[in-house]
C-alpha cells in the first residue's frame, strides 16, 4: 500500500531548523505536490521520506511500516532527481537495470521489466547509448525509466522538470500526469513552479520556512487560500493585494485611497458579518487578475463593481491581454480580452467580481471566511 504518513517530523542541521514539526497523511494513489519558495524545506522533506536524510524527530510511515531506521533501498520507493543523476559511465540499459543487478534479480526478469518500461517511455532506441549522448528530454525519460522499473509503492520526484526548456517541460508534465493516471501509484513531487503544482496535483502542500501553510486540492488552494502567503504564492500572474479601510457608507465598504482618488469596494456579501468587526480598521483585498476585466464583460458575476484607474503597462499574452495599473499604491493586473485593450496612460473602467475577491486580516495574514 502506498500510504505515507508523517508524524511531527523535524529536521535540524545543527541549530538550523529546516523542517519544523510537519504532520501529513497521504492516501494510496494520491499525487501530492510540495511547493514553496527555495529554502522552504520541500526537498529536505522529500529526502526524509526517501531516507537520504535522517530524521531529527518524529516518525515516517510508508504503507503500514514505520521506516525511520530503514535504509532508502528497503523503503519501497523510487526517486527521480532534478539533475537526473544518471550513471554517466553506464549505458541507458545499464542505468535502468542497475538497481535490479544490485538486488540480484534474475536476468530474464530484468529483461522483462526493462522491456515494459522502455515500451512505456518509448526509449527502445536509446538503450545502448551513454547519458552523455542523450538530449535533456531523453535523459529525463531514462531517469523516469530507472524509477518506474522498480515498481515501487511510492514515487518521489525532486523538481524533475526544472532543467528542461519550456516546451519540453509542458510535454513531460502531461506525460507524468498520464503515467500517474495509468499506474495509480502514490507520487510525492517537489517543485517551485506553482503552475506545475496546479496542473499535476490531486493535493498541493504549500510550504514556507519548514512548515506546511496549507494542504488541499489545487482548486481549493487557488480559490480559498488560508493566508496571504498561499494567496500570493499560487497563481500567475500573482494576486494583487491592496490595503483598504473598512467603512460604513451605504453598506459596509472597503475604502482604498490613492493619488487617483478613492474607491469604495463593496465587501463581498457572505463576508459582511465577519468584516463588521473590522469596522474602522484595515483589511487586505486580494484580487486575482481574471476577476478584474473591462466594465460590462463580467460573465456571471453576481456582485460586480466598477472603478476607474490609469493604465501603466499593457502586456499581450495571446489569448488574453494583461493591463497593469496601480491601485492603493500596489501593482494590480487585469486580464482582459485582447480587443478590450486601450492605450497606455489612458483612463480605463475596470470591473471586479466581488464574490471572487478575498479579504485578509493584515495582522494575522489569515483569510476571512464566512464562518469565522
Amino acid at each position: 500500500m502506498g500510504k505515507v504518513r508523517l508524524d511531527n517530523v523535524w529536521k535540524r542541521f545543527g541549530s538550523n531548523e529546516v523542517i519544523k514539526g510537519i504532520d501529513m497523511e497521504i492516501e494510496d494513489g494520491e499525487f501530492v505536490v510540495l511547493v514553496g519558495p527555495s529554502g522552504c524545506g520541500k526537498s529536505t522533506l522529500l529526502n526524509l521520506v526517501s531516507g537520504l536524510e535522517t530524521l531529527s524527530d518524529g516518525d515516517v510511515h510508508i504503507g503500514e511500516r514505520k521506516v525511520n531506521d530503514i535504509a532508502p533501498k528497503d523503503r519501497d520507493i523510487a526517486m527521480v532527481f532534478q539533475s537526473y543523476a544518471l550513471y554517466p559511465t553506464k549505458t541507458v540499459e545499464e542505468n535502468i537495470t542497475f538497481g535490479m543487478v544490485t538486488r540480484r534479480v534474475p536476468k530474464e526478469e530484468r529483461q522483462k521489466a526493462l522491456k515494459e518500461v522502455t515500451d512505456l517511455l518509448h526509449i527502445e532506441m536509446l538503450l545502448d547509448r551513454k547519458p552523455g549522448q542523450l538530449s535533456g528530454g531523453q535523459r529525463q525519460r531514462v531517469a523516469m525509466g530507472r524509477a518506474l522499473v522498480r515498481d515501487p509503492e511510492v514515487f518521489l520526484f525532486d523538481e524533475p522538470l526544472s532543467n528542461l526548456d519550456a516546451k519540453l517541460r509542458v510535454e513531460m508534465r502531461t506525460e507524468i500526469k498520464k503515467l500517474h493516471q495509468r499506474l495509480g501509484k502514490t507520487i510525492i513531487y517537489v517543485t517551485h513552479d506553482q503552475v506545475e503544482a496546479m496542473s499535476l496535483a490531486t493535493r498541493i502542500a504549500v510550504m514556507d520556512a519548514g512548515t506546511i501553510r496549507q494542504i488541499a486540492p489545487p482548486e481549493e488552494i487557488y480559490e480559498r487560500p488560508v493566508d496571504l502567503f498561499v494567496a500570493s504564492f499560487i497563481g500567475s500572474p500573482a494576486m494583487a493585494l491592496v490595503k483598504g479601510k473598512v467603512v460604513q457608507s451605504d453598506g459596509l465598504k472597503l475604502d482604498v485611497t490613492d493619488e487617483e482618488g478613492t474607491v469604495l469596494f463593496p465587501i463581498p456579501r457572505e463576508l459582511t458579518a465577519t468584516a463588521k468587526s473590522f469596522l474602522g480598521r484595515e483589511l487586505i483585498l486580494g484580487l486575482r487578475p481574471e476577476s478584474i476585466v473591462k466594465e460590462g464583460e463580467q460573465r456571471g458575476g453576481r456582485q460586480t463593481f466598477a472603478f476607474e484607474r490609469r493604465i501603466d503597462v499593457v502586456e499581450p499574452t495571446g489569448p488574453d491581454t494583461l493591463i497593469i495599473f496601480t491601485l492603493g499604491g500596489v501593482e494590480a493586473i487585469a486580464r482582459v480580452h485582447p480587443e478590450d485593450k486601450a492605450p497606455v496612460d489612458s483612463m480605463y473602467r475596470f470591473e471586479v467580481d466581488m464574490e471572487r475577491a478575498k479579504l485578509f486580516d493584515p495582522e494575522t495574514g489569515k483569510r476571512l471566511s464566512a464562518s469565522s
Binding site: L52, F81, A85, L86, Y87, P88, T89, G99, T102, P131
Partner: protein, 297 residues
C-alpha cells in the same frame, strides 16, 4: 598585403610592432636554448667515447656516436664495490614505485570519495589535516620514520620504502581525488543508494569508472615523485636495496681513476627515462580523459 591570410593570426601592423615582436621571439628563443642546452650536453656526452670528451668541447656533436657508455652504465659500471651497473637498482626502483603508486592512488581514491560523498562530522577537519600533510618538509619526518621502520622490522628494505612513499603520497592523492569527486553530482550517489548499492558498490561500479582523468593525474604525479625521490631512498635503504636515484649518485661518486663523464651522463639518462615514458603514455590518456569529460555536459 600577403596573398595568403591565415585566419586567427595577429599580424604586426607597424615598425614598432615588428620590432617588439622580434624582441619577443629573441627572448623566447634564448630561454628555450637555456632550457635545452643541458639536455643537449647530456645526450651528446652520453653518446661520445671517452677520447672525444677529452679532446673536444662540451657542446660539440659526437663524431663517432656509440652506445658503449650506455651499456656500461646499465650493467657493468661500478656502484660502490658492486660492478653490475644500474640494472639491479632500476629493478629496486620498479619494485618500490609500482606498489607504492598503486596503493597510494587506490587509497587516495577511497579517501577522496569518502570525504566528498559520505560526509561525516569532522570530515572537513580531516581533509584539512591531510592537506597539511602535503606541506610537511620530509626532512622533519626522517628520524621518527626511521625509528618506526626499525620497530616494524622494515628498515633498509624496499617494502619499507613502499610504506613510506604510500603514507606520504596519501596527502596528494587524496587531494586530487577529493577535488575530482567534489565535482561529481551527489545525486548519482543518492540514486545508487536508492538502487541498493553500498559504499564499495558505488565506489567500484560508478565512481572509479568515472575517474580516469583523476587516476591519470595522480599516477603521473605519484610516479614522478616516488621515482625521483632521493631523500627517503638514501635515508631508509642500504647498499643493495638502494633505488636508482641513490645508485646514480653513488655511481658518479665512486668512479676510480679516470672520470667517465659519458657513463655518468648515460646513467643519468637511464635514471630519468621511466618518468618520461609515463608522461608520454599516460599524458595521452590524460588529454583524452579531459576531452571526454568536456563533452559529457
Amino acid at each position: 598585403m600577403s596573398a595568403r591570410q591565415i585566419h586567427g593570426i595577429v599580424r604586426a601592423t607597424s615598425p614598432l610592432n615588428t620590432f617588439l615582436r622580434l624582441l619577443l621571439f629573441a627572448i623566447l628563443g634564448l630561454f628555450a636554448l637555456y632550457y635545452l642546452m643541458p639536455l643537449f650536453v647530456m645526450i651528446a656526452t652520453a653518446l661520445k667515447p671517452l677520447e672525444e670528451i677529452r679532446t673536444g668541447t662540451l657542446i660539440s656533436l659526437p663524431q663517432e656516436p656509440t652506445l658503449e657508455p650506455a651499456l656500461r652504465a646499465w650493467d657493468s659500471a661500478c656502484v660502490g664495490v658492486r660492478c653490475e651497473g644500474l640494472k639491479p637498482y632500476v629493478w629496486n626502483s620498479m619494485a618500490m614505485v609500482i606498489p607504492a603508486v598503486i596503493i597510494s592512488t587506490f587509497l587516495g581514491a577511497i579517501n577522496g570519495y569518502a570525504l566528498t560523498k559520505w560526509r561525516f562530522r569532522g570530515s572537513d577537519l580531516i581533509f584539512g589535516l591531510m592537506l597539511f600533510g602535503a606541506f610537511i618538509p620530509f626532512q622533519v619526518v626522517l628520524l621518527p620514520m626511521a625509528r618506526t621502520l626499525g620497530i616494524l622490522g622494515m628498515a633498509g628494505t624496499v617494502p619499507g620504502l613502499v610504506l613510506v612513499h604510500t603514507i606520504y603520497g596519501l596527502a596528494f592523492t587524496t587531494l586530487f581525488f577529493r577535488n575530482f569527486f567534489v565535482g561529481v553530482s551527489d545525486g548519482i550517489v543518492q540514486a545508487a543508494k536508492i538502487d541498493g548499492a553500498g559504499f564499495f558498490g558505488i565506489f567500484f561500479r560508478l565512481m572509479l569508472p568515472m575517474a580516469p582523468p583523476a587516476i591519470v593525474v595522480t599516477v603521473i604525479w605519484q610516479f614522478t615523485q616516488i621515482w625521483n625521490d632521493f631523500l627517503f631512498g638514501v635515508a631508509f635503504t642500504v647498499g643493495d636495496s638502494n633505488p636508482v636515484t641513490v645508485a646514480l649518485n653513488n655511481l658518479v661518486a665512486s668512479s676510480t681513476g679516470v672520470k667517465e663523464y659519458n657513463v655518468d651522463m648515460a646513467a643519468a639518462i637511464i635514471a630519468a627515462v621511466p618518468t618520461l615514458i609515463v608522461y608520454v603514455f599516460a599524458g595521452k590518456y590524460f588529454i583524452r580523459g579531459l576531452a571526454a569529460g568536456a563533452v559529457k555536459g
